[in-house]
Symmetry: D2
Subunit: 337 residues, 4 copies
């Protein structure tokens, strides 16, 4: 159950009400949601009935949620959330959004040239990693802070919004200065300290699904961020670990319509990691949009063979341009634009 407190309720009244609940063994978690205070009830209502809670003078209304995730559920919000990025750019509306760019920011020239071409191809957001989570400690780990700087510059010059990955909870303040969207990678989907801190910022957070995660676990990870008061969460399917050896991961598009039934949050699909093969990215981009996704996250490189990381899955700008066009046609066929 979720308790909506009356708008403008004085802090003293809220405190009093929470003491009252605590005395009746009703355990709650507070969350600020669109300038209103909510109390999420953990488990049962203690010694009180729902009616007794609703009658309380501090309460506007209550809401029953029959899912382990509350704020992420359709019961909490029926209409799709539309997440604002900047300059009027929105994710989750009728328009399909495409984020593209290299796995890693490699040089200033590379990222600035890429940004221009990604924009010309018809994309809205530039991706680029400065801190890279690499399987082995001897692999290229990203340019770090200077990479963030290059990325921001590329965004500014091209007019694109930018997204970059955060690995370390201690880097939030730093990265916040450079990015428009925080990306949480698959390996960090259940990095709870990181999720909690990202609940405190207000910029959008793109949360990638853990390659091992069930749908419920994915939504509960999003709930950690939402519970912190940050409602700008983007869910991103990026492939799961399966027995299939011919692709790097198995892109699980089933999750797209499932999430559309279960949550109001926008759904992004990453066909690059989800296949790990450049020659499958185009078809899976089309499929993702046909399945109902709100956007795509694609690894594209001005010279894929020279990519310092993930070169097997990076596509060329030429291929990206084709994808944008084909995706556009599929989007129209499913009443998107």
């Amino acid at each position: 159950m979720i308790i909506f407190l009356k708008k403008g309720l004085p802090l003293s009244k809220e405190k009093e009400f929470r003491t009252f609940l605590a005395q009746r063994n009703v355990e709650v978690r507070p969350v600020e949601h669109e300038e209103q205070e909510l109390l999420v009830v953990l488990g049962r209502c203690g010694e009180l009935t729902r009616r007794e809670i609703e009658k309380n003078a501090s309460v506007e209304k209550t809401l029953d949620v029959d899912r382990p995730y509350r704020l992420a559920s359709k019961s909490f919000r029926e209409t799709p959330s539309v997440v604002s990025v900047k300059n009027g750019l929105k994710i989750g509306g009728k328009r399909i959004i495409i984020m593209a760019g290299p796995c890693s920011v490699e040089t200033k020239e590379q990222i600035i040239e890429t940004a221009k071409k990604v924009k010309d191809a018809g994309c809205q957001i530039l991706r680029g990693g400065a801190f890279k989570p690499r399987t082995g400690p001897y692999d290229f780990q990203g340019l770090g802070k200077i990479g963030l700087h290059f990325l921001k510059e590329a965004g500014k010059r091209s007019g694109l919004a930018v997204i970059t990955e955060i690995l370390d909870v201690r880097d939030i303040e730093l990265i916040d200065k450079y990015t428009d969207i925080f990306q949480v990678g698959t390996r960090n989907m259940q990095n709870y300290p990181l999720l909690r801190e990202l609940g405190k910022v207000r910029k959008p957070v793109l949360l990638k699904r853990g390659m091992w995660a069930t749908y419920k676990e994915f939504l509960l990870a999003a709930e950690y961020i939402l519970l912190g008061g940050n409602k700008n969460v983007l869910l991103c399917e990026r492939g799961i670990r399966t027995h299939v050896s011919e692709t790097r991961f198995t892109l699980d598009l089933n999750i797209v319509p499932y999430l559309k039934h279960e949550t109001h949050l926008p759904v992004i699909v990453d066909p690059s990691h989800g296949t790990g093969r450049a020659n499958l990215v185009r078809a899976m981009s089309r499929a993702a949009i046909a399945a109902g996704a709100d956007g795509l996250l694609i690894e594209a490189h001005v010279d894929p063979r020279k990519s310092l990381s993930d070169s097997d899955q990076a596509i060329s700008i030429q291929e990206l341009t084709k994808i944008v066009k084909e995706v556009q046609r599929v989007a129209n066929a499913v009443d998107r634009s």
Copy 2:
């Protein structure tokens, strides 16, 4: 390597040539392909070089294939195979084909009514199981022979072609009398005696991917049928076993563009088993076509709640009608019809 024998080569000459090969330790498997005899070379060319083989008077040409599957590979045939069903109905061409119907044939009335509605919804083929592979021996196992009879009748009255599953290698002759397409279920993908026998018939065989199979294993299973001389093989993705608990299986659409790069055989997708949830079938039907599939296999029931098997995933005729329309729009967006 594949050796194409000269067209019209006398049997005695062929025999002589094969003796010659055997003496040089070249092991081959013969296959009849579109009225021409081929010899598929196993492993290396023994003591001969490719040139020495090509120079032989019985040989038209040779073909190098760098895949473990030979006849299924793009190297063997570059252009897509188009499989003829009957009355001019073809699978693998520009037009998307939809096969729909109940999991099981339940009664004569049910299947005849269903056939009419499936046709009205815009589908081309009627599916219906008479012999059902059920996980438990106490579950409904299908009507058997009488079910086949009802199915054929429903096909005749509606003008739809029909497809039904074969479980038992001893039933080929029986089922051949009733069906237009043989369906091999996921559990039988590596039932080699069955595959070998289906290599001897000339009707189309829809081969479902084993829920555990890699792409290579799937194509090698198809190769068993092709090697028997039956070139009318339809590959069907129907979901794989993964850790995901919210869906019955994980529909692996990555395989669609992968197969389109690797093989000339038509690719069908079964979004009903691939999700196990009726409310995901529509979106995944659209996604399958957007990914490049040549057709769909959908479980639809005149009254889904009363379905004797797989009721969670069966959709209504009303929903099927919506799917056909939406799929049509997506098909157009990817230059299909």
Copy 3:
């Protein structure tokens, strides 16, 4: 529920009772079990109560089973089943049984020499494939009937019982002449026609778990055989398909104690397929016995590098000898011998 009919009940009485049940909508499956007729009730008791059934003059007793599998469950039989092979050799008792031999019977000399050495190493049963289920049609498919002949000869000379795989439901009569135990491979775990036919024989059947199967599906597959009246079923864990790439399969030893809680049937473990690497077989053989397995099925070859199939996982006779000794010590540590 399972209904035990009175011993020696005349057929006419049984018929009468079954008509009575049918009229009250109680659906049953008959099975002969240790010279007694049982009726397994499908679903609910129709219009009757359990007491009304028990009071019937034809009924000895009834038994409630709260599992989808009935005859395989501990509720049906609490004490472990001991399966007799021949010459007093039993599986499922205190003594650990080891079955070893080559993946395929290759030549008469090979299998006869192997048999002698397998016996000397301390094993009780000789394995060897004559009909091989190979992933690709161009791989060595086994010697067929002549291989069965060699295997039987090797068994006779060494005094070992033999086990071989059956692939084709049409081969039961043939193989029955040569083998002491029928082996059903992982790919055929849900080959229901085959399971039904093996329910009609009385020789032991070693049923390998499908590499995709849940525990429930495995036990339901065994139930198909048991329901045919063949109570001599051996369950064999042989590894499942997972994302792990360093081993061929993931040996799931969790299933061993799980089965010991759920079923009375003996449990065999195949560490050769379950790892796919010769250098892991010894440790996993010890682990299987420590987990509670009743026996092992091991691929051993007189010259592993020359093995015509599965050469990566075949161990030498020398290694087999070590395994038998180490397994013996572990067996003693868990009160087995």
Copy 4:
């Protein structure tokens, strides 16, 4: 390749040598190992040959390592590493070590009572979580700092060493004051900032395998810690995500002998998470030791049904006592104690 610098090499000489390498495009990572400086060469030797490097006056010797992990590999160190905990307690020697205790520290009394009983049962190390990584934000998240305090007190009174999980890279200093071993949970196996920081401490780190990880990825995660100079890494198998629904995870014991062939690091097995079912823990504890594990990590509770987290898999102290005894016997059977 790994370069061993001469012992006692002056810093100026080391600097000079590294400049020399850099000029020849040899990229290295330095690591201090048992009071000796090593340089791990990334990729190839640049413009130098191995001999040219070996001849350099600063170099003692070089070592070729043909694995992506270097310090974790057997090539680097052939003999098993023995990790010292405290008061002479060692992990990785002949003696099997058992760590047991509750999932979460719940109250002071609970953990002190548990510690006494865990010690009496014959275990050497007390486990207990103060910061819990919970799938949902509404679940009990652990007592935090006060829990650490209780745990340390329980360790002191019982004389047991203690192990607790670290979730947040910012908590290293805090937790270091209370624990004898840092535990990194499965969800953090690829939390690289955390691994890097744990490379700087000198206390043992028990690294749990990611439930999605391959063996290589697991060893590369360990390499991150080793490369920081902390050689006290314990590898812990705790079950992987598979399609099996009857157990919480699939304990992958194949990894135990695999790791014993690949690495010198001690291997611990967690049969509690690896099964998720209390009634399977005993058998899998025995199996783990038979497979070659150096120790066990077991969830035990003074009153399992009242456990605040993971109650399905917690065993009673009585069961723990049985396990210790049975494990002892198996240990003896495999020449351990």
